[in-house]
Symmetry: none
Subunit: 259 residues, 2 copies
C-alpha cells in the first residue's frame, strides 16, 4: 500500500491532528467507543464529549477495539461552547433541513473547505444526539453544516458511522492534497506491461493454434480474432501474463504434434 498511499507528511498529518471530533449528549456509550475506533482508523485522535450519558464505560472501551488511547485522552465538558472554544472552524452534522438556511455542504465539500483553511486552523467536527441530532442553537454555533446525503426514506445514520464518513472524507482530501504528484496508475504493478510486438506475436500464435484445433475457420473467420484482441487489450496484460498465454499455446502445439 505504501506506494499508493505514501505515509503522511507532517503537513498532511497536521490537518488530522488539528481536527477534533465533538460528540454532543451521546446516550449509548458504545457509540463513543465505535466513534473513537472510526477516528483512529482515519488518523484522528482528539475527542471531546459534551455531557455524555455514561463515560468512561466498559462498553465504550470494548467497542473502541484498539483505540482505547483516544478514549483515555478524551475530554469531557459541559457545553458545546466549551468544546469549541479554541476552534477556528466548526462543522456541525445536520440531518434535517432547518428553518434558517445555513451554509450546507456534503462531507466531500466539507473536507475541501477544511483543507483550504490556514495550516494552523483548529477544526471541530460536531455530531449530535442519537435520536435528535444537534439543536438549532447548537447548529447556530457552527460555521457550516454538513449533511451526509442519505436515503430520504431512511436517513438515520448511526452516529459513529457518521463520524467514520466525515473522518474518511477528511483523510481522503488530505491524501489528495499531498498526492497531487501521485502515479496515474493505482497499483504499483510488479511487472512491466507487455509491449505491442509481444502482443502481436501472441495474437499470431493464438490464431495459428485456433486454426489447428479447428476452432477458427480461415475461410470464415468472422470476428473471432477481433473479439479476442479486444478482450486481451482491454486487460492491458503485463509481460508475465502474456508469457503465460504464450506458454499455454506452445504446450498445445507440443501436445498436438506428440499425439
Amino acid at each position: 500500500m505504501s506506494a499508493q498511499y505514501p505515509s503522511m507528511t507532517n503537513a498532511t498529518l497536521n490537518v488530522l491532528n488539528r481536527t477534533t471530533v465533538v460528540m454532543v449528549h451521546t446516550s449509548h456509550s458504545g457509540n463513543i467507543g465505535s466513534a473513537a475506533r472510526a477516528m483512529k482508523t482515519m488518523g484522528l485522535h482528539h475527542l471531546v464529549l459534551v455531557q455524555p450519558k455514561l463515560f468512561p464505560s466498559e462498553e465504550a472501551r470494548t467497542l473502541s477495539s484498539g483505540a482505547a488511547d483516544i478514549l483515555e485522552r478524551a475530554v469531557v465538558v459541559d457545553t458545546l461552547e466549551e468544546a469549541v472554544a479554541d476552534c477556528d472552524f466548526v462543522v456541525g452534522a445536520s440531518a434535517r433541513s432547518r428553518n434558517l438556511p445555513w451554509p450546507l455542504v456534503n462531507p466531500r465539500e466539507m473536507a475541501e473547505q477544511v483543507l483550504a483553511l490556514p495550516a494552523s486552523a483548529k477544526v471541530a467536527l460536531v455530531v449530535g444526539r442519537e435520536r435528535s441530532g444537534l439543536t438549532n442553537e447548537e447548529l447556530a454555533r457552527c460555521h457550516v453544516h454538513v449533511n451526509i446525503p442519505a436515503n430520504p426514506d431512511y436517513s438515520s445514520l448511526n452516529v459513529a458511522s457518521a463520524v467514520q464518513v466525515l473522518c474518511y472524507e477528511l483523510r481522503m482530501s488530505a491524501i489528495a492534497a499531498q498526492n497531487e504528484d501521485k502515479p496515474a496508475c493505482g497499483v504499483e504493478w510488479d511487472q512491466p506491461l507487455a509491449k505491442g510486438n509481444q502482443l502481436e506475436s501472441l495474437f499470431d500464435h493464438w490464431e495459428k493454434v485456433l486454426v489447428d484445433i479447428d476452432f477458427l475457420d480461415p475461410n470464415n473467420p468472422r470476428h473471432l480474432m477481433s473479439k479476442l484482441r479486444r478482450f486481451v487489450l482491454r486487460a492491458l496484460p503485463d509481460e508475465v501474463e502474456a508469457n503465460i498465454l504464450r506458454g499455454m499455446l506452445s504446450h498445445i502445439d507440443k501436445k498436438l504434434r506428440r499425439n
Copy 2:
C-alpha cells in the same frame, strides 16, 4: 435538502438497487445489523451472508434499527461462489497488500468504476471476516480490490463501518452522475457481461486443459491460475468473449482425444 440532492431518478436508483453487499463469515451478529442499517441509509437493499456465525439474531435486529427489512430479505449461502454467481462485477475489500498484485482502487475510484459499467450490470461489494478479512482465494474471485486508505498505524475499520464508507461512495457517485445529467453508463456494450458462474466454469475448464497439455503441474501450481484469473477478470469479459474462450478449450479437448 431536496434542492441540493434531488431525489433519485430510476436510472440512478438503479445502481444502488443492483448492488449487493456480501458479508463473508461474519462472527459478530451485531455487525450484520449495523451493516444493514448502513446500507439502507445509503439506499442499498440487497444483503447476502456467506456462513454467518449466527443469523438471524436479536442483536442484529436491534442494531439494524429501522433496517430490519433488509435483514428479513437477506439471503444466507454457503460459499462466496454462490453469493456472486449472478454478478457481473465483484469488488473485494482488502486491507492488506497481497503477494499477487491485483487491480486496487480506493472507494471513490471503485464507485466511479461501478458507475461506468453497463446499466444492467449486477455488482457485489464483498467484505470479509472481522479479524482476517477475505482470504487470498476469495480475493481471487474479485474483479477489483478496494482499500479504504486508513491510518497505517491502525487500519482496523469495523466491518459495518467499511460497508458504510463503500455504500456512501457509491451513493455519492450516483448522485454526481445524476446531477451531471450524463448517462449512468459509460459504454453502450453490445453484449451482456459474463456472470460469475460462467467465469467459474471457464476457469475450471481452463485449469483442466492446462493440466492436460502439461502446462500446469497440479503438484506445483504456483500462481498460474491466479494470474490467469486476474488477467481475465481485469478485462471484464462479456458473454461472447467468455464463450469464445470456452469454445477454444472444448476444441482443444476434442483435438487431444481424437489424436
